[in-house]
């Protein structure tokens, strides 16, 4: 892990400089996060960064109730899971058609998809809200799922098409020669091979939805429907100046799933999600 440093060699000097620079980067980036981890285990947490005088799980105990944590957690799970499943299924269908059929306007369609994937969703939330009022979908988890899925589909379709393109068509053709129908070819040949693509799209979508705040913030109204993001915001507004430890514990519980999923899937994500310098929406 650590190699001996010989400062007379330029390559070693460069490596030492890079190591020092990265240590500073790591310290700067981690500084705002330390507080949350310490305060979560400190029932008397204040704003300053301090080791708890007494480590305790009391904060977690206080917030692990149906109303404060469990229902919002389940709502977040429903939104993230529902959206991701919908996105994966629809992106598979579209990605297959765009990849395998030589469609007349296929290229145009892809350019429109790329265009739509880059538009800032924030800008259309006011009209989406009015539309949802008219069709009676305000304050509904299903409404949030449908809108979130629609806003993620353009990027997901483009990504999925790329994964489909990477699967040689010969494999499918071989199956057709053996008498398989196109549907059988898709199910038995394409789907198993595109599994990494499915995982990538699903995980990216899941993390994105788990962290999203603005869409449920605008579209949901009753507390029972709030996901973790909106709950944390509401909790912060009500008790922000008093219950720091509990807030930190809540934030920690909310943060862990995205961090864990990201690092478990890191390798495949970086391969898939950043292809062509094209991109994951932050």
């Amino acid at each position: 892990m650590f190699e001996a440093v010989d400062l007379s060699k330029p390559a070693h000097r460069a490596r030492l400089a890079a190591d020092v620079a990265l240590t500073l980067v790591a310290m700067t980036f981690v500084a705002p996060m330390i507080w949350m981890v310490l305060a979560a285990f400190d029932e008397r947490a204040a704003l300053s960064i301090a080791l708890p005088a007494q480590w305790s799980l009391g904060n977690f105990g206080s917030i692990l109730t149906e109303d404060i944590t469990i229902r919002p957690f389940m709502n977040s799970l429903a939104i993230s899971f529902g959206t991701s499943v919908l996105v994966v299924v629809l992106a598979l269908l579209s990605g297959y058609a765009l990849s395998r059929y030589n469609l007349k306007y296929g290229t145009h369609y892809i350019y429109i998809i790329v265009f739509a994937s880059a538009l800032p969703v924030t800008a259309i939330m006011v009209p989406v809200y009015i539309m949802f009022v008219h069709i009676g979908m305000v304050d509904s988890l299903m409404g949030v799922i449908l809108f979130r899925a629609a806003s993620e589909l353009p990027f997901a379709i483009w990504l999925m098409k790329g994964f489909m393109d990477a699967i040689p068509i010969d494999l499918e053709e071989a199956a057709w020669v053996e008498g398989a129908s196109r549907r059988q070819g898709v199910v038995h040949v394409v789907l198993p091979l595109v599994a990494p693509g499915v995982a990538t799209v699903f995980i990216l979508s899941f993390i994105e939805n788990w962290g999203n705040f603005f869409v449920p913030f605008v579209l949901l109204q009753s507390r029972d429907n709030y996901p973790m993001s909106v709950s944390l915001f509401a909790f912060f507004g009500e008790y922000g100046e008093a219950l720091y430890g509990q807030l930190a514990a809540f934030a920690l519980i909310y943060t862990l799933p995205s961090v864990l999923i990201y690092f478990v899937a890191q390798r495949s994500l970086q391969k898939g999600g950043l292809r062509l310098g094209g991109a994951v929406k932050a």
Partner: protein
């Protein structure tokens, strides 16, 4: 047997068969297309329409909005608050994008040179800052910056710097710092991938010819990865244009309106003041900026695709 399989085995294909074949080939695109049109195109049209009415959030104007022509736009363009928000949005986007791209590149470059331990340490921590949910990021920074006892002032105290209250004294600078912190990882990952593709031989040849490290970066590496820089700059611009949560949580656009960007102004007018029509006019303005940047993105995307073919 599916429709196009039938079509494929038929020697002469009458128009009805061809139509069936086309429908079979296009139909998988239908559900996604309907959703994208329904939730993107319709709202965009609706925003344009609503911006020409006095639609309210509640009361009479919510149920029976009246067509009022360009009145909303007249107020929007004559209100200095709008132009201040446009200026702040420009500063927020410009400085965030410059910061994320420069730091993202520098960190990626340093990670290429550093020992494995520091490469992984910095990479992991920078990425965590990006994966942390937006509300948590806002909450973390609020507690880090707020008051004399907060984390940043503790650290400043240790190194002998005077205590700061950036959320009150320099709110716009504070939210830019927060956004750079949060967005760096994305640029870092993009540039790490780009650096992998720079041929080693070219850099070695330049080193043998006596190029200094700075010359290698500015004369060789940056020109080679220029297309990726272009696309990443546009992409980070688009991602920054819509930032709402971290500003809303840390400053809510304040104190006063000192960190109010267009998304914040839009939300405040539409929901705090109940002026949905007026908020829609701001949405249209924001969309125009988004559409311009997005067209630019598609242009770079096309150029990139043609190059790689």
């Amino acid at each position: 047997m599916s429709a196009e399989a039938v079509a494929a085995t038929t020697p002469v294909r009458p128009w009805s068969r061809r139509l069936l074949g086309t429908i079979a080939r296009v139909s998988p695109l239908a559900p996604a297309t309907v959703m994208i049109l329904g939730f993107f195109l319709v709202p965009i049209m609706w925003a344009i329409y609503a911006s020409l009415t006095n639609q309210g959030l509640s009361g009479v104007n919510a149920r029976n909005p009246r067509f009022i022509g360009i009145e909303n736009y007249y107020y929007l363009f004559t209100d200095p608050r709008t132009w201040e928000a446009v200026g702040r949005t420009a500063a927020f986007v410009l400085l965030s994008v410059v910061g994320q791209n420069i730091f993202g590149f520098v960190i990626a470059y340093a990670r290429n040179t550093a020992s494995a331990f520091f490469r992984d340490l910095a990479g992991t921590i920078v990425v965590i800052a990006w994966v942390v949910p937006e509300v948590v990021a806002g909450f973390l920074w609020y507690t880090f910056l707020r008051g004399d006892d907060a984390g940043m002032n503790q650290i400043f105290g240790l190194v002998g710097l005077p205590a700061q209250e950036w959320l009150l004294t320099d709110p716009l600078a504070a939210v830019i710092v927060i956004n750079v912190w949060r967005g760096c990882a994305f640029s870092m990952l993009v540039y790490s991938a780009a650096l992998q593709d720079v041929p080693h031989e070219i850099i070695e040849a330049a080193t043998i010819d006596g190029a200094t490290p700075l010359q290698r970066v500015f004369r060789i590496i940056l020109p080679i990865i220029r297309p990726i820089i272009a696309i990443n700059v546009v992409l980070t611009t688009l991602n920054t244009l819509g930032v709402f949560g971290i500003i809303w949580i840390t400053t809510a656009g304040g104190p006063g309106t000192r960190s109010e960007t267009l998304p914040i102004l839009m939300y405040t007018q539409a929901y705090d003041f109940g002026l949905i029509g007026y908020g829609s006019a701001i949405a249209v303005l924001l969309l125009i900026f988004g559409i311009i940047a997005s067209l630019f993105y598609v242009y770079l995307f096309r150029v990139g695709e043609q190059r790689s073919v």
